[in-house]
Amino acid sequence: MLAGLALAPLLARAQSGGMTALAERPPAPPLALPDLDDQQVDLAAFRGRVVLVNFWATWCPPCRKEFPSLGRLQKLFEPGQLAVLAVNVGEDADTVFAFTGATNFPVLLDRRADALRRWPVKGLPTTYGVDKAGRLALRAVGGREFDDPAVVAQLKELI
C-alpha cells in the first residue's frame, strides 16, 4: 500500500481547512454509476439538494484518512439537504467494501474511470461541492476533514 511507503509522517499534517469557492459555476458533468449493491445512482436525481462528490481510491493515503469525515459530515445534515457521493476509481466492489464497510452515504464504483475522465480531476482525492442547481460550486484538491467547521459553513451557504 502507498500508505506503507514511508508516507505516514506526511499525513500527520492536519487535513483541515475549507474548500475553494469556484467563481464560475459550470454544470457538473454527468455522473451515473452503480453503488456497492449494484444499484444505479445518478447525480441528476439529486437536483435540489447540495451534493458532495468525492473521488477516491483505497490505496490513496489522504483518501483513506478523509473518508470517515464524509460520514460525519452526512450526519450533520438532513438527507434532503445534503448528499454525499463517494466515487471509487478503478477498484472492484470487494476491495472497496473491505475498506468502507457499511456507510451512511452511497459509495459508487467507477471501474473504468470513465466518469472521472469527464470531471475536472487531475489527482486523488479531489472533491466537489455541487449546488442545488447542479453546478460545481466548491472544490478541494487533496485531503480534508469534511466535518471541519469551515467546510460545513461553506456547504450550509449552498443550501
Partner: protein, 163 residues
C-alpha cells in the same frame, strides 16, 4: 522574476522538505521493493513494473499554504544534474503496448503526481513520479511553480535513491 530558494539542510536525507512563502514540497525516495510491492498489489506483472522501479521513484507531496493559487508542471521539475521526470504519457504508452490490465493502468495513472495541477490556497496533493534514468549519489529536486507573481523554484535538500 524566477527565484531559487535553497533548503538549508546540507546533509542528504531519506526525505527532504523545502518550503518558501508557505508553499512546501516533500520529496521521498521509494525503494524498488516498496514500489514493486505497491504495483504488484494493483495488478502489475513484476516484469512490467521493473522498468519503472529501476529508475529513481519519488513520492512528492506538494502543498499550497499561501494565499494565491499556483500551478505546477512536472515537465519543469528536475532531479540532480538536469534529469527530467519521465512523463506519465510515456509510461501509459508502454503499459498500453504491453496490454496491461485496465485496473492496473488506472491505479498507476492516479497514483502518479499530476503532470499539471492548479493548487488553490489550502490545496495539496501527493503522488509518485520516476526520474528519466537512475541517479547515483545524493541529488536535489528543483521544482518550479508559477503564481501571479511569476515563476519560482523550490530546491530540496540532497536526497538519495534507495536500492
Amino acid at each position: 522574476m524566477p527565484s531559487t530558494i535553497p533548503c538549508l539542510l546540507l546533509s542528504f536525507a531519506l526525505m527532504s522538505t523545502s518550503a518558501v512563502a508557505e508553499v512546501a514540497l516533500t520529496a521521498t525516495p521509494l525503494s524498488r521493493e516498496q514500489v514493486t510491492a505497491f504495483y504488484l498489489a494493483r495488478g502489475f506483472p513484476a516484469a512490467a513494473i521493473a522498468a519503472y522501479a529501476e529508475n529513481c521513484v519519488l513520492s512528492f507531496d506538494f502543498k499550497n499554504g499561501g494565499a494565491t493559487k499556483l500551478h505546477t508542471n512536472l515537465d519543469e521539475w528536475t532531479a540532480g544534474d538536469g534529469v527530467r521526470i519521465r512523463p506519465l504519457a510515456a509510461w501509459e504508452t508502454v503499459w498500453e503496448q504491453q496490454q496491461l490490465p485496465q485496473a492496473a493502468r488506472i491505479a498507476f495513472r492516479w497514483a502518479q503526481f499530476p503532470p499539471q495541477q492548479e493548487f488553490a490556497p489550502g490545496d495539496w496533493i501527493m503522488g509518485m513520479a520516476a526520474t528519466d534514468r537512475p541517479l547515483a549519489g545524493p541529488f536535489r529536486v528543483a521544482a518550479r511553480y508559477t503564481d501571479d507573481h511569476g515563476s519560482h523554484e523550490l530546491l530540496t535538500a540532497p536526497i538519495a535513491c534507495i536500492d
